[in-house]
């Protein structure tokens, strides 16, 4: 139950991709037949991904990952507008792809405002408005958080950005395929998504760039992707992304069922004494449940679940390479020792009520075993 980390590639996606490794191997920049065939495949794919976002085909740029899309959006806008200003507004709970990019720009002479969130992990649009200065050149706030699943008031922030004429970027890597996405109703100028979170292949992402929004390329070379992202196109990856995007649109109604499973999971797990839900009870991704259990540590919780064949994730420092507890959990006001005891379960299409029941039935014993061992247990 760690679908927010990644998903298996859908067999229909693999099927769509396969010919582009072998008989349709052409370089889209070549003018002869197989090159033109590859070019056509990319342009068809561009339309399909645009459809997922309610965007126009010309506004879609293919990249190598969600992280690259975030980097391109933020650095691209920052460097393009350096003469206009040097101030960027973001939130304190962004994915590292945004947060570390902003931190880097902070070392390059840009000023970054990291907005706080409330205890449910939500950015207050009034804070965005208050943070604006005449030098603000970009606002970047994620659509939904990858750890605690909280959905941000993007439409409201979008209105503020539009009113002031400031480019607005959102990282929608977690929401693609989970919520209906429409760049116009969201009011965003830039939006990042990634294929592998929607049952597509790894190594391909998209940056939506609203017509009239200009940014500085971050990869220079042969002028691919309208001179915004040079690199020979990853044709099979792009074709797979497009097929995954089509399937994601078809399956969107199914997310209601996943939300039902999530609610059943949350209800069942919260029966455990001294357990809490991190994030907002309703404004959250349909597939995300994030808990914390007092007195125990997340990695040992994960290992125990793993021994029972259940994959999960934690914000504990002990499972990260940085040895720091999750910045998201600290930003919602948790003490480090509580952040260590977090458990994220994210559901996918394969999960059933039986899976939920299994977790709900084995988790109490695991929590209990670890609490018996813990000197913190009261």
């Amino acid at each position: 139950m760690d679908h927010s980390a990644t998903c298996a590639v859908d067999p229909a996606v693999v099927e769509a991709m396969l010919p582009y490794f072998s008989e349709k191997f052409g370089n889209p920049s070549s003018l002869y037949a197989i090159g033109r065939q590859a070019r056509r495949a990319i342009e068809d794919s561009r339309q399909k991904v645009a459809d997922l976002l309610g965007a126009r085909k010309e506004e879609i740029i293919f990249t190598g990952s969600g992280t690259e899309s975030d980097n391109l959006a933020i650095k691209g806008i920052a460097y393009k507008n350096r003469k206009k200003g040097d101030h960027i507004i973001t939130s304190s709970i962004e994915h590292h792809a945004v947060l570390h990019t902003c931190k880097f720009l902070g070392t390059q002479g840009f000023n970054i405002t990291y907005l706080p969130v409330n205890k449910e992990g939500i950015v207050n649009p009034a804070d965005v408005e208050r943070a604006l200065t005449p030098k603000t050149i970009l606002i970047s706030v994620m659509h939904a958080n990858n750890e605690i699943g909280t959905i941000q008031p993007i439409e409201e922030i979008g209105k503020i950005a539009k009113e002031k004429g400031i480019p607005f970027h959102t990282d929608a890597v977690q929401t693609a395929g989970k919520l209906a996405l429409n760049v116009d109703s969201l009011g965003v100028d830039l939006l990042s998504i990634s294929a592998h979170k929607i049952y597509g292949p790894k190594g391909v992402g998209t940056l939506y760039i609203r017509k009239g929004t200009f940014l500085e390329p971050q990869l220079h070379g042969g002028g691919h992707e309208r001179n915004i992202r040079s690199s020979t196109e990853n044709v099979p990856g792009i074709v797979g992304f497009a097929r995954a995007a089509e399937l994601a649109r078809e399956r969107l109604p199914h997310e209601q069922e996943i939300a039902g499973l999530r609610d059943s999971l949350i209800k069942g797990v919260l029966e455990i004494k001294d357990s809490y839900l991190n994030g907002h009870p309703t404004k959250r991704l349909p597939n995300n449940a994030n808990f914390r259990f007092s007195f125990i540590e997340g990695e040992s919780l994960l290992l125990n679940l793993d021994m029972k064949g259940i994959a999960a994730s934690t914000g504990s420092a002990c499972s990260s390479t940085s040895l720091e507890p999750s910045h998201v959990l600290l930003a919602i006001g948790l003490k480090p020792e509580d952040a260590h005891g977090s458990l994220r379960l994210t559901l996918g299409l394969e999960n059933t009520q039986e899976d939920v029941d299994q977790v709900v039935s084995i988790l109490p014993d695991i929590v209990n075993k670890l609490r018996m061992m813990s000197p913190l247990t009261r």
Partner: protein, 127 residues
């Protein structure tokens, strides 16, 4: 996720030995910090200069729990002097190694044991 851990670590983690507290312990060693994610309490019972019983309570990751379990096995039956010679590296080696990142933060068991012995020596007026 378990890739970094040896089979021995996983075995001790899955079935830790000597979990719990000793009610009338002769010494207790408390090391680590819950803020960092690892907290270890080691209890010892001493008879005729030997560690007659060793138990632990630990809040922490797989490595923290496995090293706690391992040190209780290594220390039990040893004299105070022998037990003081057990190092962090000895514990890691007995577990067929630990992932490098865990060597510093979670490999606290030897410190916990030494702290418990120090507590015993102070309480019994031997130091």
């Amino acid at each position: 996720m378990t890739e970094g851990y040896s089979e021995k670590v996983m075995e001790h983690f899955a079935s830790p030995r000597n979990v719990g507290e000793i009610k009338d312990a002769d010494g207790i060693g408390k090391v680590g910090n819950p803020v960092c994610g690892d907290l270890m309490w080691i209890y010892i019972k001493v008879k005729d200069n030997r560690l007659e019983d060793v138990k632990f309570k630990t809040f922490g990751c797989g490595a923290a729990i496995a090293t706690s379990s391992m040190i209780t096995e290594m220390a039990k039956g040893k004299t105070i002097e022998e037990a003081l010679k057990i190092t962090r590296n000895d514990v890691a080696e007995a577990l067929d190694g630990l992932p490098p990142i865990k060597m510093h933060c979670s490999n606290l068991a030897a410190d916990g044991l030494h702290a418990a012995i120090k507590d015993y020596l102070e309480k019994s007026g031997k130091k």
